[in-house]
Amino acid sequence: MSEMPKIRPSAAEVDSDRELKLIEIRREAEQRGAVAGKGVRPAGAPFPMASPETGYYGIPLLKEPAWTWEIPLYFFVGGAAGAAAVMGAIADYTGADRKLVRDARWIAAAGAVISPALLVSDLGRPARFLSMMRVFKPQSPMSVGVWTLLGFSGGAAAAAFAGFMRERYGPSLPLRVIENAGQAASLLFGLPFSNYTGVLIGATAIPVWNQNAGELPIHFAASGVSAAVGMLELLGHRKSRALQLLGLGAAIFESWEGWRIESRQQPGLDPLKRGTSGWITRAGGVLSGPVPAILRLASLVGGRKNQDDFRRWAAISSIAGSLITRIAWVHAGHVSARDWRQPLGIG
């Protein structure tokens, strides 16, 4: 901005010092929308301003995400399904409870079906999903994610289906091959699938997202684990020590993440702390972190009956927390996109 030239108001203009004073006040008012002096407020002010301090009339520079409600839900489902697949496979390889393996597979498989359905619903038409398969772009998290989703969905669905057929009609070589290959694929793709959505929103122009690009995938992975553990526990696996450990780990990480968000002083993080989006983030954080952590710790020391209850409540809290966390992040993205200060480097 160039310096405001000193233009002397013309003689005709100034009949007294009062006039001069008024002109000064006017300038100040226009530039700031208010005047520092006592009791002075020029009529109409503040009028809309375009300036280095206000940006272009405060019109958002960035566009808000155009995603519909399916997308946060997809983040949630995908995260849980991916984590469940990984847990199921590892449980299988380590020879854990068969029922747990089977349930984990079913969660993964359900996610494998629901996830594409949610995406298609967001796109509006099934055929549009086909476009995703035209190319593979490693530089696009969305492209990587879609191919991961395809690998994961195929694997998880195959494993679950083959397992189901085996249990129903007895083992056979082809079924075993499919089941094992499917499980291996769901493990392989499940690992990135459980957290790539963090990369997806992290690598964007939205300040609140890209300022957290380094933490979001871990955060989303923890959230996914926490939801998957919760689901398995609700399916009855409330005695599994492994789930307890994983759940506790995720809850502790989420507690730390919540503290990190609250404590960092960075204007770009405001949407996570202020307004509606701030409260949603907090709610998600509390339900994902401290609440299940405390409940799980309590279950360790409590009696048998309490233990079950505590773990059930921890599970419910984790699932709700995971879902709300995803909604919170997407919501915060909207708020962040509307804030013109960040991309303009103001404030």
């Binding site: 086909l130 035209r134 190319v135 490693p138």
Partner: protein, 212 residues
Amino acid sequence: MRSNPQPDRIISAQKIFLRRGTLEASLLTDLLSRWPLIQQLRTGADGTGSEAMSEHTRKLRPKHDGAEVTPSICPYCGVGCGQLVYHKNGKLISIEGDPNSPISRGHLCPKGADTYELHTHPGRLKKVKYRRPYSKQWEDLDLETAMDMVADRLWESRERTFQETRDGESLMQTTAIAHLGGATLDNEENYLIKKLFTGGLGMVCISNQARI
């Protein structure tokens, strides 16, 4: 930005592909005939270049490609910008500035740039509208009938109000029928108006927007 879709406007690329089925068909052909992914694998391209172009994109041409061009002049202000009217099979395709014009050098203002819409927008009149005395509504009228009726009204009013002389001097006028308008019309049109109304019918109340 609020969105106001206009179903009745004929709109290019965007809207054409809105039609259900077209997209699917085009996508499938595209996928089956030359899968960009295969090209990518073969050339190591990253999916942002020509390998990712669809048939439609490859064949893309300006919408007025192969159209007839008629030179014209902008209908709005007095600057007199040159326009080129592109049309195919009797339908307008686009109207843009004529680079040869020594005045406008191909440029147009927002009004001139909107001349195509001026001609094609859905609010244009296409039928004669007629309102009977004391009526509350319009009705449609056949063009030839309307012309006959207007000729009748004009003739009758002229008969009623014409003054051939005043104080024995030639007057030859009627002041009860008037005309207004002309600055948006062609010289030839104004010429016929003045010739018929004043020279033929003795109407003196002739006026238009033009003053100084």
